[in-house]
Structures are given as structure tokens and as C-alpha cells.
Symmetry: C2
Subunit: 311 residues, 2 copies
């Protein structure tokens, strides 16, 4: 049995994992802005409570893994620069290790999700998979030969910050033309707002003026009704997503690309145009090409992936 | 002892390799347009002659490797789509295997060069290296954990066809904005011609009008003399090269990036501005970052890498 923790800006989700499946889980609000000690104490408490609930002893836990945003110092099990959660360093290995006397591993949250999807989700059974998470930003998890790739400084896999448009949209990382400025859910909303403003006779404009929030649900809702403006917004967006996926295909030729994030709940409605774009634009048109599938585990991917972490 | 063959559009280079070093080598003109049988017969003849020259028997050869452009079918040891060399399939394993009764392996030429540089060149001692070859196009070789990465269909590593500028320069692959349209030696010449045309008072324009060929040598020659136009051309070019290297750093965080191709002979004069660009623009500014070095083996890299090929 393994404990997996997904530390997010909104929730802390904890689960006990056996054979790649969550047997018991719980989540609490992160309550950003508090001290690292409090956050870690809450995590420890949740693990203990979950063990009780499942009729297990904390001694049955083989290791504890934490997926978190920020900069992971994997050698020492410390996460820093998680500014939207706490200004302090999160000394996971030291503190959780002292409480449970078990190995403690940390990893970037997007990579944990990839590991989770490979363990028991959309990429199960594949050894060469890339997960692309389309959320507020774009996260990445790259698995080669069954092994999560982190690069020599644990900073690899930042596919959201691959330049796809030199001198393009400014990114919050300080650069321009980063993939996440074109393919994130945030980018979808930006594109939509720009296009809606240009089409004041469309119902989407009226609804926006009436105060409707322009988000994924709003855009996809209209698209499902064949609203031409919504469809053209999605044309641009899926093409943008496709450009980055083609890059990953040309570079890696993975067996599968798993698309995660809220928009992936749209399934084939989102993925079919992306699949078509990739088939048409990948460099190797005459070779078999990566499957493109929606993530299957949702938020559980992060817990399962964290639980699977090893030295 | 291993035999390595580098099949290029201009030359066929063959070498015998021991302990990662070429002990004997030779090259002949490719004479494009002839039949596959003739090309392979020439290769076999060269291997035999080299063995004699070194006082070795062909039986001392452990395996034969061939680096070639085109589409490698590694399962069967066949290379096809080498249109600038021959319209026929090159059945290396079948034909060279029949002559020498040794294992025959094939690989993409850019990947062989990467393997060669890792075996005894700029990336020696590194396990995570990317080679970027700036030639007529841009080739790539990706090594992770000491292993050449080819992807599930042997088509991976096409970093020259990573989109860095959506809707940008048209590429001969049919897409737009491919990295090689910005970072290849061909792109350098295109940028130079465009800029020289705009600066008719510069000496470079006069020389071009007098019939001087605008190539790397011409551009770097003026740059070494501090010609401001040549320097501004190189500013644009090194920035372009840097954009793609930043992408590779953000995705892989390799230990080292080896820059090959004719322009890499410029050494630090080319690489220093690229290093500066990468340090400034990589996503992980606070972490140690890949070394950037010039390739060391030149054309020998292809022979050595081919000789190192394994199952």
C-alpha cells in the first residue's frame, strides 16, 4: 500500500493506493497562505485517518509520494517556490519521514498525473507516453521506456513553454509565443473573447454582455449547438493544440499522447479535430503515429502517480 | 572491430572502428542516381579494401552499421525514400549480410552523428545529450540514459520540423515555421541575402553584386571583421538557433547540447551568443542548465556512430 498526495492551489487530495488503484481517499481545502508546517501536519493527519478508515495500519504504507507545483528538490524531498500555496519551503521528506518513518518522494504535479495515467489510466500498458495537460497553463509529463523523464536538473517536461510562435503572445514566464499561450484553457477563453467581440450579432456576444462567464463550458455549449462562431473558435484552438502535439510527435514519436485538463472531458468532440490535424501535419505521414486519448483518471491521476513515485 | 558507413548525397564514407576510434577510413563519390546494388557493392568493396589495408580479416568485423538519410526500416535493415541518392530500396541487411555474414544495422544519419559524438566526441561521458546538426536542414539526435531515442516508429528526433513560428516560413516538408527554416545553414543564407538586399551601401552587397557566393564562409568572414550588417545577420540567426535550443532544454533538460554542421566550425564565435540566449530565455533560470558545445568529430561522427549501432 502506498500513500499519494496531490497538493494543489485549491485542494489537498490524499489517497491510499494498492495495485495502482485508490482504495480510500479524501481531500481538504488547501487554505493557501498558511505555513508549511500546518499544511504538512494536515497531510499526515489525513493519511492516519484514511488508514483507520480502511482498517489498515500506517505501518502498511510502503512509501509516501507528493505531487506539487513549484520547484522540486528531489534529492532532499523539498518543494519550494509554491507561491500560490505558501511562501515557505515544504520539507516533505524530513517532516513526513519523521512522522511515518517511511520513504518520502516528491515530484512535479503534471508529471505525477502522467505517471498515474500510465499506471491505471489512458496510457496503461504503454511504455512511451506523453501527457499534455491543458489547464490554466499547459503541463507535461514524458514517459520513455516506462520511466518518467525529468532531465538532469528535474526541470524537464516543460512543454507548455516550448516556443511555437516566435514573437507571439506574451507568456507569464517572460517569454513570447509559448505553447501554453495557445493551447491552455486560458488561451481558449482569450481566443473566444477576442472573436466574440468581433461578432456582435452572435448570441454568444449577447450572453457575454448579459454577464455570462466565457469559459470552456460556455464555448463548448455553443459549439455543441453548432453555433458557427463557437465552432470557428474551436477550430483555431484545436489547431493550436495540434501544433504542439505535432512537435511532440516529431520529436518523440511516442506510442500515445494523453490529453488531460478540464477540456479533455469533451472527449472526441475536442480530440477528433486534433487527431485529424496531427495526422495531416506530422512529419512522418507514412508511418504509424501516436494514439491521442483523453485522460481517464481526472484528479485521481495525481494521487495515483504520486503514490507510484520511487527513488 | 566494427565497420561504420556514412551514406551521404555526395560521398560514401566507410571506416573501421576500434574502441570508438577510426583506425582506417576511405570515401568515394556517391554518384547519385545509380542502382542500390551498385552502391552496396561499392560499400562491400571498400570494407574489404580497408580490412586489407589494416592487416585485418573481414572476419574480425563484429557488425556493420550504416547511417543514411531516408526512412529506415530497422526491423529489416532496409532504407527507402533516399530520393537524392537512389530511387530503389537499399537492402543493407540482406545484401551486406550475405557478403560478410555479420549483423547489419541501419540508422538515420543525424542520429548516427549524435551517437558518434557521444562515443568519442563532444558528448563523451554524457548520458543525456542532444545533437543539433545545422546543415542544409536541421537534424537531430536525442540520447537519454545513454540510449539513442528513435520513437515507436523509428521516426523520432525530427527536431528540424518542430514548429517554432506558426504560419511562418514555408518548409519543404509542406508545413510552415519549421525550426530548420530558421536555424539551418540554408536559413542563414536566406536571412543574409534578404538583409544584404536592404543594405546596398554595405560592402557585402557590392561583393554579392560582383558574384561572390553568399554562404556561411562569406557571412562569417565579414562578421569576423566586425561588419555591422554581418553581425546583425548573425544576431538574428543565433537568436533563431537559440529559440529551438531553449525548446529542447525546456522539454529535455539534457546535460549537453552538441551543435554540429558546417557552421559549428565557428566554435565560440557562433556558440557564445547562443549560450547567452539560452541562459536568458530557458524556463528554468534558477537551475543548472545544459552545456552547449560544438561537435568535435566532423564527418567522422557519422562513421563512428554507425559502427556503434546495435540491435
Amino acid at each position: 500500500m502506498y500513500a499519494g498526495i496531490d497538493l494543489g492551489g485549491t485542494n489537498i487530495a490524499v489517497g491510499l493506493v494498492e495495485d495502482g488503484r485508490i482504495i480510500c481517499k479524501d481531500s481538504i481545502k488547501t487554505n493557501s497562505g498558511r505555513g508549511a508546517d500546518e499544511i504538512i501536519a494536515d497531510m499526515a493527519e489525513m493519511i492516519k485517518t484514511l488508514c483507520e478508515k480502511c482498517g489498515k495500519s500506517c505501518d502498511d504504507i510502503e512509501s509516501i509520494g507528493i505531487g506539487a507545483p513549484g520547484t522540486p528538490d528531489k534529492e532532499n524531498g523539498i518543494v519550494s517556490n509554491v507561491h500560490n500555496i505558501t511562501d515557505e519551503k515544504l520539507e516533505f521528506r524530513k517532516e513526513l519521514g519523521a512522522i511515518f518513518n517511511k520513504p518520502v518522494f516528491i515530484e512535479n504535479d503534471a508529471r505525477c498525473a502522467a505517471l498515474g495515467e500510465m499506471t491505471s489510466g489512458a496510457a496503461k500498458g504503454y511504455k512511451n507516453a506523453i501527457m499534455v495537460t491543458l489547464g490554466t497553463g499547459v503541463g507535461g509529463g514524458i514517459i520513455i521506456d516506462g520511466k518518467l523523464q525529468c532531465g538532469c536538473n528535474y526541470g524537464g517536461g516543460e512543454i507548455g513553454h516550448m516556443t511555437v510562435a516566435m514573437d507571439g503572445e506574451p507568456c507569464k514566464c517572460g517569454e513570447r509565443g509559448c505553447y501554453e499561450q495557445y493551447a491552455s484553457a486560458t488561451a481558449l477563453v482569450r481566443i473566444a473573447k477576442r472573436e466574440i467581440e468581433k461578432n456582435k450579432d452572435n448570441d454568444m456576444y449577447k450572453k457575454m454582455q448579459e454577464g455570462a462567464e466565457v469559459d470552456g463550458r460556455f464555448i463548448f455549449g455553443y459549439a455543441h449547438e453548432n453555433n458557427p462562431l463557437a465552432l470557428s473558435i474551436l477550430d483555431e484552438y484545436t489547431r493550436n493544440v495540434g501544433v504542439g502535439i505535432v512537435n511532440l510527435v516529431n520529436i518523440f514519436q511516442p506510442e500515445i499522447i494523453v490529453v488531460g485538463g478540464g477540456v479533455s472531458a469533451q472527449g472526441d468532440f475536442l480530440l477528433n479535430p486534433i487527431r485529424e490535424y496531427v495526422r495531416k501535419h506530422a512529419f512522418t505521414k507514412n508511418l504509424p503515429i501516436a494514439e491521442i486519448k483523453a485522460a481517464e483518471l481526472g484528479n485521481d491521476a495525481g494521487i495515483i502517480g504520486a503514490a507510484m513515485l520511487k527513488e
